[in-house]
Symmetry: C2
DNA sequence: ATATTTTTCGACCGTCGGTCAAGTGCATTT
DNA sequence: AAATGCACTTGACCGACGGTCGAAAAATAT
């Protein structure tokens, strides 16, 4: 049973190795032996730290999200800052870690059927939405109480925004041109502003999100 | 090279076999030999009709969508029917084929990491959104011209609705309780009604979609 | 009847994810 | 100092899988 002592070293070594390999190959084409080799350890050791190959990927994605998740939770508590500012900060925090991590894949790997990336992207979607939803819901609720936002379903609103943002920014789930992505985001902003009765322009920071190339 | 003559017989036989197996197992646990056995043909023959295992799944999903897609395209042209009615019909058409096909998996298979289903679900999402978007956009555009809908981004609106509906109904992408799903859909309806300035209740048929258990 | 093409097939191959018994070093006990 | 126990490491090994192949059978043409 791995302790949380020096074992973390090897544990993260494995994660690092996978992350590196992910930059140049698809998961399906990365073998466990390969990960072991890159990490400089024996294949058997991998299974001392992880129960399966999938679990390594799970852990890597989870690790990639630790930081923005903490930020999100902190933001939810900062009631003195305007809800809109906090939302903007939250999305900002996400871009600096995880999304960059996803992006690497699309560009590098030869563009065979995007199918191979499905594992990665589904995990990504599931994670970001389910983990970020509570924090965003809280922020929205506070906005409603303040009278800044007018809407009856804060949790639903949070989920809708997260789903659209996530799906659209992860361009391999629904490959579109940058122009189309931009149109959808602008549409989302317009829909939100009209639907929640906030002043036009209040949510425009959302479209900045699309600039991550 | 398979002709499109009598070959279709075997071709569809293979697809049928996979569809049947999909009802009781996850794709990852279905071997090509198993498909062949179920179809009553030799394993080698599979590769006479399909280049790879993935291609079989692709073809099956595509086949599952032929019917609703036709319906959608027809609906887009039926300008004499109200846009709202046509939208309701469109979503109705989808439920009778593809969604049922997806649903089967979630219930039956033992709930190991949803990872295994990723292939299926990503394909599903990509397909339904990208194929249905043009038709739905067209319907919305007509609604805007009629003055029934007030919104500046018809394509974005179509995409947003499709993404949310698809992701939320495919409960294995973001597993939630039925109550939560319902809340999100109600929130979506409220957001749409307020955001597009249609009378409350006009879009309530969308939440019926969640009743497919 | 013969030649030619299309279709069928299962034995076979290389690879992969995962297991395991054997081993290595290190701290603690005796 | 020797023995014991324990956390950790390892690569040979296993069963299973996706995919290939050449040969045979079926269908078609001549």
């Amino acid at each position: 049973m791995p302790d949380t002592k020096k074992n973390e070293k090897k544990y993260h070594l494995i994660l690092d190795a996978l992350q590196l390999l992910l930059e140049e190959k698809k998961i399906q084409n990365i073998s466990v032996s390969e990960i072991a080799q890159k990490a400089g350890i024996g294949k058997g050791s991998i299974y001392y730290y992880f129960p399966s190959k999938d679990a390594i990927l799970d852990a890597l994605i989870e690790r990639s999200y630790e930081q923005p998740l903490l930020t999100a939770k902190n933001l939810a508590a900062q009631t003195e800052i305007s809800p809109f500012t906090r939302m903007a900060m939250l999305f900002q925090a996400c871009q600096n870690s995880s999304i960059a991590f996803i992006k690497q894949n699309d560009s590098s790997s030869d563009n065979t059927s995007a199918q191979d990336l499905a594992f990665l992207h589904q995990k990504y979607l599931t994670h970001v939405v389910s983990e970020l939803k509570p924090a965003l819901t809280e922020i929205i609720k506070q906005g409603i109480e303040n009278g800044d936002i007018h809407f009856d379903y804060p949790a639903a609103l949070a989920e809708i925004v997260l789903i659209i943002i996530t799906v659209k920014l992860d361009n391999s789930l629904l490959p579109t041109t940058p122009a189309e992505t931009d149109d959808t985001l602008r549409g989302l902003i317009s829909l939100l502003e009209k639907g929640t009765e906030v002043a036009p322009g209040t949510l425009s920071y959302l479209s900045l999100t699309s600039y991550i190339k």
